[in-house]
């Protein structure tokens, strides 16, 4: 495949090289994307581990812990029925909300890194321009 492609989105002047992706004045470098990707992967797999642990603990208790399905604590509710019919949904809502919030923050971090690099670039250009002016005035 080619080393440079264009995004299918015709709304932006997009170029994607192996080292960076540029959409208008916004740039993602592969180094920055890799840094944020690692954090994102850690976040997703940590939440994924908690999700699967909780989800699979329910059948584990159901199979091996009689108290879980035998003892009622509120009318006919056993812990097993209460968790599967009600509490599990609250767990999903809270987890999805907190995860989305944290993932949004990582998106913002990538944007921030781009902004910092652009600022650094601008400062560099200003310094170079200033140095050029100084040299000019010195001569």
């Amino acid at each position: 495949m080619a080393n440079s492609t264009s995004q299918p989105d015709a709304t932006s002047s997009a170029t994607i090289e192996a080292s960076h992706a540029r959409h208008g004045e916004h740039v993602d470098t592969i180094e920055n994307v890799d840094i944020v990707f690692r954090k994102q992967r850690k976040l997703s797999f940590t939440y994924g581990a908690v999700f699967f642990a909780v989800t699979l603990l329910i059948p584990v208790f159901t199979v091996w812990w009689p108290w879980w399905w035998e003892v009622t604590f509120w009318g006919g509710f056993t812990a097993n029925y209460f968790v599967v019919a009600l509490l599990y949904f609250v767990f999903l809502w809270v987890m999805a909300w907190v995860y989305s919030y944290q993932a949004d923050k990582l998106d913002a971090q990538l944007a921030h890194m781009d902004m910092e690099e652009q600022q650094a670039l601008e400062i560099d250009q200003i310094r170079q321009a200033a140095a050029g002016t100084d040299e000019g005035s010195a001569t």
Binding site: T11, F45, T62, T78, A85, F89, D107
Partner: protein, 621 residues
């Protein structure tokens, strides 16, 4: 069906068709036809995804499963909802950022070969057909229960083409409506319809539950009441089967029934047995066997449906399978950004979560109320009963509608059931059509086709797949599967989840999160997942119909009701091992990584206001 119900169902169909005709004016490009212009907001998209997801199996089936099986039925609700956590954590935003049209596009873009795209298209079609089959069978069955009339002739045996003509009439009507409305409206029309259909069925469930609370429902107290004594289940057996002793215990089913039925109810069963008809199946109430623990089974305890192995494999099939359903994944491309895709999934969890909390309440309330009203002589006449229990638990929701809110609520519930069918079949048709129209026609057959031509091919593909759905709806009862699997709709839905979880999810997970995944690894893993899950499902069918025995390798594999516990890890391991051995990464892997995990495109769109959610009725004319 009563007049109110007919009017409400007709109104729903009219709105559906009207919206499709209206949406057609705004469908000019393939992005409009397949992706609704990529500008569907989180709330709207979440409603449409929920409509896509909640089929008749959820609307009628979950409450019915709880009614029949208690706690094991509630597991369906929790598992169906839990599946979206896998989507939000691992797939939603990455898939959207990749910015294509279909799952096959992702596979091609990520791994870069045509064979990868074609294998993905094949998997999409297989998963969609697996999911279409129960929807069409559910359409015919629901039509039979709710409408009860057909327009097809019948022979001396009361059959048309070997099946019930009323059932087949329902399949034809639903297929025809779907064919028309999806082909006319494309994704925009389908999205608008799915939003309305979802909120209709959510409202129908809400009203049933609200009426239940209005009639004195107390969750904890009623659960205690329902769990006071052995759980019983209805079944239908021949006179011979009823009088044949169990080889282990020496007790006949008839003797067991005597222990749990009322004297009047049991007398009716005895009278039917006395006729000694070798073919007729006699409805009977039996104590429910506990498949999990060696104790008496109660309503609030596990063990009616699942043994220890199935407690795990069923949950994994549902939780992993959602992320492998192409018609659900395609909807993520309609979001304006990766962040919006995550937000949509959160709203989906709220919408379907509240729905799945209500469905078990309806099931529990029905368990008590149907019994009471049967003996009070006020139970609805539109359902069959044995000793105070519904013979077919799928009739619970319409029965509850009529008991709680009379003809009006029955009408709302009936329209809700059809809304559930329409919305899911609509999504499946779009997914199948995009696999052929976009992934095959536009990429290989005629890449230079005009937008008009491409949309035309997409519409033709919708019609072809609706006809295929019609065929599936006919062949299922013809093949006698409903007699082999008592809860066939739920079983077939779970099969579709298992195939999706095995064929797609390992490829998506590794493709998104592991740069080292190679094309050869992904393709081998998909084939292992697809072939393994489909093969085991067919072995299970062959075992159930008695073609193969229960011993040997095939016997063991055929005994696996839910194959995902084996096929998902097998596919995942295959991808990991083959990729490690292969080691041949795509040349442009860094560019791919920038597309999947970078956000420059979204920031650019945000800066220029291009990420704004557009009206579904906007677009090029």
């Amino acid at each position: 069906m009563n007049t109110t119900a007919i009017v409400l169902v007709a109104a729903l169909v009219t709105i559906t068709i009207g919206l499709s005709i209206f949406s057609q004016r705004f469908t000019r490009t393939t992005t409009d036809f397949y992706l609704a212009g990529r500008k569907v907001g989180s709330f709207t998209n979440a409603s449409a995804i929920s409509g896509d997801y909640l089929s008749a199996a959820s609307f009628l089936g979950v409450a019915a499963a709880v009614y029949a099986s208690g706690l094991d039925g509630v597991w369906y609700a929790a598992g169906f909802a839990g599946g979206f956590m896998v989507v939000v954590l691992f797939i939603a935003s990455a898939l959207r950022r990749f910015g294509e049209y279909t799952v096959a596009d992702f596979a091609f873009g990520r791994f870069g070969t045509n064979r990868m795209r074609l294998v993905s298209v094949f998997c999409v079609l297989i998963v969609s057909l697996f999911y279409m089959a129960p929807q069409m069978y559910g359409a015919g069955s629901t039509w039979k229960v709710l409408v009860g009339r057909g327009f097809l002739p019948s022979n001396d045996a009361g059959l048309f083409l070997g099946v019930d003509p009323v059932y087949l009439s329902g399949v034809i009507v639903v297929a025809a409506i779907m064919m028309f409305y999806v082909a006319m409206g494309g994704m925009k029309g389908t999205t608008l319809n799915q939003v309305i259909q979802f909120w209709w069925l959510w409202l129908a469930m809400f009203l049933v539950v609200a009426f239940a609370f209005g009639n004195g429902f107390d969750y904890a107290k009623n659960l205690q009441e329902a769990s006071d004594g052995q759980l019983v289940a209805t079944t239908a057996l021949t006179a011979t089967a009823l009088t044949t002793p169990d080889p282990k215990t020496g007790v006949t089913p008839l003797e067991k029934a005597k222990g749990v039925m009322t004297p009047e109810g049991f007398a009716e069963v005895e009278a039917a047995v006395a006729k000694n008809d070798p073919v007729a199946k006699i409805p009977v109430v039996l104590p429910a066997a506990n498949k999990l623990h060696e104790v008496k089974l109660l309503f609030n305890a596990p063990g009616h449906r699942y043994n220890a192995f199935d407690q795990f494999s069923m949950v994994l099939a549902l939780v992993l399978g959602t992320a492998g359903l192409p018609h659900i994944l395609n909807r993520y491309y309609t979001n304006p950004s990766g962040k919006a895709a995550r937000r949509s999934t959160f709203w989906v969890l709220i919408f379907i979560g509240t729905f799945y909390i209500m469905a078990p309440i309806a099931g529990l309330f029905g368990r008590l109320e149907v019994f009471k009203q049967f003996f009070a002589g006020t139970a609805p006449s539109n359902a069959a009963y044995v000793d105070g229990y519904l013979v077919k638990s799928d009739a619970l929701m319409p029965a509850l509608g009529q008991m709680l809110g009379g003809q009006a609520l029955l009408g709302i519930v009936a329209a809700g059931a059809f809304a559930a069918m329409f919305s899911t079949v609509g999504g499946l048709l779009i997914a199948s059509a995009s696999a052929i129209g976009h992934d095959v026609y536009e990429k290989y057959i005629n890449p230079n086709a005009s937008q008009r031509r491409r949309v035309y091919v997409g519409k033709t593909a919708v019609i072809v797949f609706a006809l295929l759905g019609l065929f599936l709806g006919w062949v299922i009862p013809y093949s006698d599967l409903p007699n082999v699997y008592p809860a066939l709709i739920a079983m077939m839905v779970t099969w579709a989840f298992a195939v999706g979880a095995s064929a797609f999810v390992p490829m998506l997970l590794t493709g998104i999160w592991w740069k080292g995944t190679t094309e050869r690894g992904a393709i081998t893993g998909m084939i292992v997942g697809l072939a393994g899950s489909v093969g085991i499902i067919f072995l299970n069918i062959l075992q159930q119909v008695g073609t193969i025995g229960k011993t040997g390798v095939f016997g063991f594999l055929g005994s696996l009701t839910f194959p995902v516990l084996f096929t998902f890890p097998a596919a995942l391991l295959t991808i990991l091992i083959v990729s490690k051995i292969d080691g041949k990464l795509p040349d442009n892997v860094d560019q791919i990584w920038l597309r999947i995990h970078g956000t420059a495109s979204e920031r650019h769109e945000k800066q220029h206001g291009l990420d704004k959610v557009g009206s579904l009725l906007g677009g090029k004319k």
